[in-house]
Structures are given as C-alpha cells and as structure tokens.
C-alpha cells in the first residue's frame, strides 16, 4: 500500500497547472453556496430563532438534496449517453414517475394512499421506477448511442406517452383526488415532508457511496462504449449500475419537489464550463454545488425580494429551456 502511494506522481507540471483552477473553482463555489445558505437561514428572521432555524433548515436540506440529485444524475446520464444535451428529464424519466404516482392514485384512491406512510409509497415508486427505467432505457443505450436525434425523438415520444397516459387517468378520477395529485406534481420548494426527506437523504447517501467508488470508471465511460471496452471496463454492468443510480436520484428529486425538466441541463453544462477537467471527481461536486447555489439563492431572492410572487420552478425552467435551445442550435454545427 505505502509503496504504491509513494510511487504515485506528486506533481506533474502540466497537469498540476490545470487542476489548480478546478480546485479554485470548487472552493469558490463552496464558499458561495455556504454564503447563500447562511443568508437564507438568517435574512428577515423574526421571532423565535429555534423555530425559524428549524423551518428554514428543513427547506435548505430539501433544496440541497434535490440540487445534488438533479446535478449528479444529469452529469452521470450524460456520461453514459456521451452527449451534453440529453438529460433524464428530457428522456421522460420524471414523466414516468408522474405516471406511477397517477396510476397509484387511480388504482387505490388518494385516501388510501395518504393513509399509507409516505416512505412506503416512495419505496414502491422507487422500485417500479428503477425496474421500468432499466427495461425502457437499457436497450436504447446498451449498444452505444446510434444517433442523438433518434434518441431525442424516442425520449420525447416516451415522455409524451407517459404524460398522456397520466393525463388520461387524471381525467377519469374524482376531481378531489385530482387536486391532491396536482398539488404533488407542481414543482414546489416550499413544502417539506420530514419523514420523506430523511428517507430520501439516507437513500441518496447510500447510492452516493456506491457511486463514489466508481468515480474513476465514470471518466473512462465518458470516452464512449468502444474505448471503455477497449480499456477493460465491463461496459454493460457499469452502465446498468449508473442507470439504477440515476433512477434512484431522479425518484428522490421528483418525490420531494416534483418534476423539473431543464434544471439538470442548465447546471450540468454550467459545471462543464466552470470546471476545466474531464474528471468526475471535480465535475460532479461542481454540478451539485451549482445546483444548490441556484436553488437556495433563487429561493432567497424569491422570498425576500419578490415576496413569493412567483414560483422558483418557473424561473429555473425558463432559463434552463433557453440554454437547451442554445445547445441544440450550437450542436447542429458540431455533430
């Protein structure tokens, strides 16, 4: 162990010169994120501190968890699909989640559903989600990406299909139940379900430990299937593992705040710009912190400046959508 450690290159001049900005960018992001959290916790606080801190603390925790889940799942999804435009949401992952939710309310009724522990339904949804996404998306990516546009179309068709099916069921159910559903599906960063939040945090931690041990393989997978196989990776196994990871993270974020389509795209591409390295050990934290900064900072501005006049999700989706269109226009020349 020690001899291998000692032989590890301490400094290779050209590489060291490139990693300094990456480290610097990560530290600056970290500081900015901490500042945003501190401001969110304290600005405009009145009354009992313990009450304020607890209420806002849960909100911050939820936003950070969602930010982490969206940032990491998007970057990993883009790594295994070798592109920078597709994201789990664009490919219909969270439409699938909405469909499962709707089917549950349709089949059991919202009264029965709310009687069950939120964590139990979450576990059920998670299992269904992972199984479905593996079945549906495996064959698309197992043989490598054939054509970006074909895949995009397939994703949009799947997404539309899931959404239409959900819409159909929502029209059939009782209006009261529909209100319950609608409440769940409109992305909101204001409501916190404490039990669900803790369960989701635990689960996220679990898959992250598992993912962190694979981080060097992520770098190789980003080269594409053939290069990865040539360098000795079990491509099929690793891609399956990452798809499970992505399915879990998408479930976490959708369960907590509802579907957010373009946010992942926005933070992933910002992260690629800010951190000048291909290493996931730097890109993943950058994407997660950027997402956290956007959500906490955005919510802060929204609550304190605009006094809740508008929803954060609307702004995030607007900016993300614009970035998506810009990337598509730019990508036309490159591909």
């Amino acid at each position: 162990m020690s001899s291998a450690e000692a032989r590890r290159a301490p400094f290779a001049p050209p590489r060291a010169a490139r990693t300094v900005p990456a480290g610097l960018a990560l530290s600056l992001l970290g500081v900015a994120l901490l500042a945003a959290i501190a401001a969110f916790m304290t600005v405009g606080a009145r009354g009992s501190w313990s009450f304020v801190l607890q209420l806002r603390g849960l909100k911050v925790l939820q936003m950070l968890l969602v930010a982490y889940a969206i940032g990491v799942s998007t970057v990993l999804f883009q790594t295994i699909t070798n592109n920078r435009i597709l994201t789990p949401s664009i490919m219909g992952f969270d439409a699938l989640y909405v469909l499962i939710q709707t089917a549950l309310v349709f089949g059991l009724g919202s009264a029965a559903l709310s009687a069950i522990d939120a964590r139990a339904t979450f576990a059920l949804e998670l299992a269904a989600m992972t199984g479905f996404s593996l079945l549906l998306f495996r064959w698309l990516f197992a043989g490598g990406l054939r054509s970006l546009h074909l895949t995009l179309v397939v994703g949009i068709v799947f997404g539309t299909f899931f959404r239409s099916l959900s819409g159909f069921m929502q029209r059939l159910i009782d209006p009261n139940e529909f209100v319950v559903l609608q409440d769940r599906f409109f992305a909101s960063f204001n409501t916190v379900n404490r039990d669900l939040l803790l369960a989701a945090a635990g689960l996220t931690l679990l898959v992250s430990v598992f993912g962190w041990r694979m981080r060097r393989r992520f770098d190789v997978l980003a080269l594409g299937r053939e290069a990865a196989v040539g360098l000795g990776l079990d491509h099929r196994r690793d891609v399956t593992a990452i798809l499970v990871l992505v399915a879990v993270l998408v479930s976490v974020s959708t369960a907590l705040v509802g579907p957010v389509t373009f946010f992942g795209l926005l933070v992933a591409n910002l992260a690629y710009q800010i951190v000048p390295t291909h290493r996931h050990a730097a890109v993943l934290p950058a994407a997660a912190m950027l997402a956290g900064l956007c959500l906490v900072g955005g919510q802060l501005v929204l609550e304190r400046v605009f006094a809740f006049d508008t929803a954060l999700a609307v702004i995030v989706e607007f900016v993300g959508g614009v970035v998506f269109i810009l990337l598509l226009l730019k990508g036309r020349g490159a591909r």
Binding site: R18, R216, L223, V229, G230, L231, G232
Partner: protein, 255 residues
C-alpha cells in the same frame, strides 16, 4: 497468437462474417485487406470483443475473448477503431493517459506518467500535449489516439484503418511507426488497410477477405499477384516490382 475458429456475425439478415477461421501469428505486422463490406472491421471488432460473435470462438494467447474479464484482456490487446467521436473535452495528454487505465485503474504512478511521456514523444506529440483534441487537425488527432493505444502497452495492437484522414506523409509515418512498434517493441500489430500497396510494403502477412470469408492468407509476395487481386477486387490490377517491393497499379484498371 490470435486464433479465430468458425467465427460468424450477422446484422439482421446480412451475414457479415461467415465462418472465418484464421490464425494470426505472434509478432510482426499483419495487414487485413479486402473490398468494402468484406467483414474486415467486423472481424477485428469481434477479436477485440467490441462486438459479440454469433458463432465461433476467438482466443488471444489461449484466452477466450468472450469469457476473459475485460481488464485482463485490456492488458494483452488494445484496439483503435475507425471513428473516434469523443464528446468530452480532453487534452492530448489526458487522452494518452487513459491508455494507462488498465494498469493504473485511474491512479497513475510515476511509471505511468513516464510511459505517457514516452508515448507522446514516440509519436512526436510533445509540443501538442497540452492542446485540446478539438483544436487538432485530423491527422494529429489520429496520432493522439494511436499514442493512447501504444500507451496501453499490450502485446497485441489492433488498428482499424488508421490511415484514414492522413495525407501521404503522415500515412507513411504511421506505417513506419507500426513497423517500428513490431520490430523494436515486439508488438503484434494487426491493421486493416485499404491501400494494398501499404500492405505490400509494410506487412509480414496479408489476410485478404471477401464476402465475409477469408479469401487468402500469406506473405505479400503470394498475395500481390494479378490473379489474386483480380479475384479479390474484381478489377484488373497490374503488379510491378519497384525497388524490391511489389506494387499494384489499379489507377486505370479495366473492369
């Protein structure tokens, strides 16, 4: 030694490789030639386990490629495919360093760093090592990928049309380099080529494929004959001996 036994592959109804059995000896340069759609690339992909085979087996030094763990094989055999579309923004040095992955598993030692430097120097890429791949010309990028494959330091190096995108000077440079890799580093080089004359001048053995089958196998002197080439490409090819090398002249061939 690479041994393929009755290897077949079809894509849908099209049988691309049809029961090919071939032995590629250890050492030297082996060129695979043949018309478009003969199954050259597919055969190479199956040998390097990028594509699964429908029937048959391939062994590399006795290791069955479809059963041997990928990372064991990655230290014996490296492959460079025709198209290299990398979406990640990488510098030349980063790319070449990936060649060490099978050995270092992403934690490069000083020895790995030295080998990366050596591979860069070998291909004359020292000056370009900090440049991003998308800033290079087609030929420079091709050389960077070859450097990565050589950096993998395997006994067997498989290359699928490495002369694509290369002008005359760089094509000759590439073939010389592969020859040197075989002579000086004791590599076994298997290379798919379109230009029969490069095969004739640089290879020790030529495998000629047609319609998914192995048509001929032998040293250049045996393959570079008008009747063999006519049979292979279905055009008349005159063969002249120039400076001790057999050169096929097909530029004004009669069909």
């Amino acid at each position: 030694m690479i041994e393929a036994r009755s290897v077949s592959k079809s894509y849908g109804p099209a049988l691309v490789v049809d029961g090919v059995s071939v032995t590629i000896p250890k050492g030297g340069v082996t060129a695979v030639i043949g018309p478009n759609g003969a199954g050259k690339s597919t055969l190479l992909s199956m040998v390097s386990r990028l594509v699964g085979m429908d029937a048959g087996t391939v062994t590399v030094d006795g290791l069955d490629v479809s059963r041997t763990p990928g990372d064991v094989l990655a230290r014996r055999l490296s492959i460079l495919r025709q198209e290299q579309a990398v979406t990640v923004r990488l510098t030349v040095a980063d790319l070449v360093a990936f060649g060490r992955y099978p050995h270092s598993k992403g934690r490069p030692t000083i020895e790995d760093e030295a080998r990366v430097e050596a591979a860069l120097a070998w291909l004359g890429l020292d000056e370009l090592s900090g440049r991003f791949l998308d800033e290079l010309s087609g030929g420079q990028r091709q050389r960077a990928f070859v450097a990565m494959v050589l950096c993998q330091d395997t006994d067997y190096v498989l290359l699928d049309e490495p002369l694509n995108n290369l002008d005359l000077k760089h094509a000759v440079g590439m073939m010389r380099l592969l020859r040197r890799a075989a002579d000086e580093l004791d590599k076994t080089v298997v290379v798919v080529l379109h230009d029969i004359n490069f095969a004739s001048c640089y290879a020790d053995t030529i495998l000629a494929m047609k319609n998914g089958r192995l048509a001929h196998q032998g040293p250049p002197a045996e393959i570079m004959r008008p009747e063999v080439l006519r049979d292979l490409y279905e055009i008349e090819v005159d063969v002249e001996e120039i400076g001790g090398k057999r050169i096929g002249l097909y530029f004004d061939a009669r069909g």
